[in-house]
């Protein structure tokens, strides 16, 4: 439907910006790897300890890195009032949300595509299996849906670097708890049935917050 195609036009524009600029990928990926290294100094004293804290480190890192990406996605719309250009175009406000949401999700997944192999290397953990892929996608949708909404809010305040984390971290705590616990169970070798309930929480979060953000977004960007 029209909203989806308009959203794809906007998401493509964001991807094109990244191709022209190469800012997000370089800075966010470097930041993520640095955070992982710091966490490793903090927690990874023994190999056994490293295995226990690995999922936590990974998801905490993506939460911090995600904030950088979400913030930038709306800073670009604030410059030259581009958000007004989007609002005066014959597209719905919901399509604008979807477009930014798709773009942000894509970027986080791209960052994860690079960072997770690096992580696997540094921690000697095999992170490549289907369950972990599912967890990663669900958790990223959760981060991105709320991150997009809150970044749109934060960029309209006088202290965007403060407001975005303060909103983001409490709200995505179920996602972090879910992703970390599910990942830990998978790495222990548990079957899909064991992580069922965690997947359920992630799916519930995504469903509720994608819909809620989609509906509420227009109240944020109107002036």
């Amino acid at each position: 439907m029209k909203d989806l195609s308009d959203a794809f036009i906007i998401a493509s524009k964001d991807i094109l910006t990244e191709i022209r600029n190469r800012e997000v990928l370089s800075s966010v990926v470097v930041f993520a790897v640095l955070v992982i290294i710091i966490f490793n100094f903090a927690f990874g004293s023994s190999e056994r300890a490293a295995g226990l804290v690995a999922p936590g480190i990974l998801w905490a890192t993506f939460a911090f890195a995600g904030i950088l990406a979400f913030n930038r996605s709306f800073v670009m719309e604030k410059e030259e009032d581009c958000i007004e250009g989007l609002m005066t175009a014959p597209i719905s406000r919901e399509a604008i949300y979807l477009g930014k949401f798709f773009g942000n999700t894509f970027f986080i997944l791209l960052v994860q595509l690079i960072v997770i192999p690096v992580f696997s290397l540094l921690f000697n953990i095999n992170f490549f299996n289907l369950e972990l892929l599912a967890i990663t996608i669900l958790a990223t949708l959760g981060f991105s849906s709320t991150g997009t909404l809150f970044a749109a809010m934060a960029v309209n305040t006088r202290a965007r670097e403060l407001v975005l984390p303060i909103l983001f971290f409490p709200i995505v705590s179920p996602v972090i708890i879910g992703a970390v616990n599910a990942s830990a169970l998978v790495l222990e070798g548990q079957s899909f049935a064991a992580i069922n309930q965690w997947i359920g929480i992630l799916v519930a979060f995504d469903a509720i917050f994608i819909v809620a953000s989609y509906l509420i977004f227009s109240f944020i960007i109107e002036e």
Binding site: M153, N156, S173, P174, I177, I208, F219, I220
Partner: protein, 229 residues
């Protein structure tokens, strides 16, 4: 708009004062000491109502936020804002009393159990409500953005509770009381619950009125400033 109901507020004030005084008597004198935890257990009679009001207050913020976005009538924002202020105080007190109770009861100041953790997250959501409002200029935008935090925050609370519950089932559960509540304890708890409820509604009524007064004062200030330009 909210100016009417002077009598109602006086009644609420009287009721809450009486009930709170009564609760002091009941908690400190009337109710017997619990056999396992001793005197410190009496905090429970305040801790539970504080928790109840903290969550009730946020529910009110949620409903008023929706009403504000739909109707765009500033009065809904007065109520939401006032409720958030009261809720923040009550939830802070709840967390503090919870800690004071936890140390002698379980030996630790804090435990990551579902109710406490959810309350901690709610505390942060309350704080986010005020930080967002604080860093935005323009009363209409403050109300609008606050409403968004109120709605998203409230939807979040059950999910936090669920995820922490699931997380902590991997650890031994807490027993708060072995056995049920004696009638006298139940009565004391109920009195405290009613007392705090009435206190909340009284504070809410006064608070919302104050917000309206602030708004009207700003209106006058603005007109005065422009006349004297």
């Amino acid at each position: 708009m909210l100016q009417g109901g002077f009598m109602k507020r006086k009644i609420l004030f009287a009721l809450s004062s009486v009930l709170i005084l009564l609760s002091f008597y009941m908690v400190l004198v009337y109710v017997p000491t619990e056999k396992n935890m001793g005197i410190v257990q009496r905090i429970f009679y305040y801790h539970v109502p504080l928790a109840w009001v903290a969550f009730l207050a946020f529910f009110v913020v949620f409903i008023c936020s929706i009403m504000y976005l739909v109707k765009r009538n500033q009065k809904w924002d007065y109520i939401a804002h006032a409720s958030a202020e009261i809720g923040l105080v009550f939830i802070s007190l709840m967390l503090v009393t919870g800690s004071i109770w936890a140390k002698p009861a379980w030996g630790v100041w804090w435990i990551w159990e579902p109710r406490l953790t959810t309350s901690l997250i709610l505390w942060f959501i309350y704080v986010a409500y005020f930080i967002v409002r604080g860093y935005i200029s323009g009363e209409e935008r403050k109300a609008r953005f606050g409403a968004v935090v109120g709605i998203i925050g409230f939807l979040n609370v059950p999910l936090v509770f669920l995820s922490v519950t699931l997380w902590r089932t991997q650890h031994p559960p807490l027993t708060i009381f072995s056995g049920g509540l004696e009638p006298s304890m139940l009565l004391t708890l109920l009195v405290c619950l009613f007392a705090f409820n009435f206190l909340y509604f009284y504070l809410l009524a006064e608070g919302a009125m104050m917000k309206e007064d602030e708004y009207n004062i700003n209106l006058l200030k603005d007109k005065f400033a422009r006349r004297n330009n």
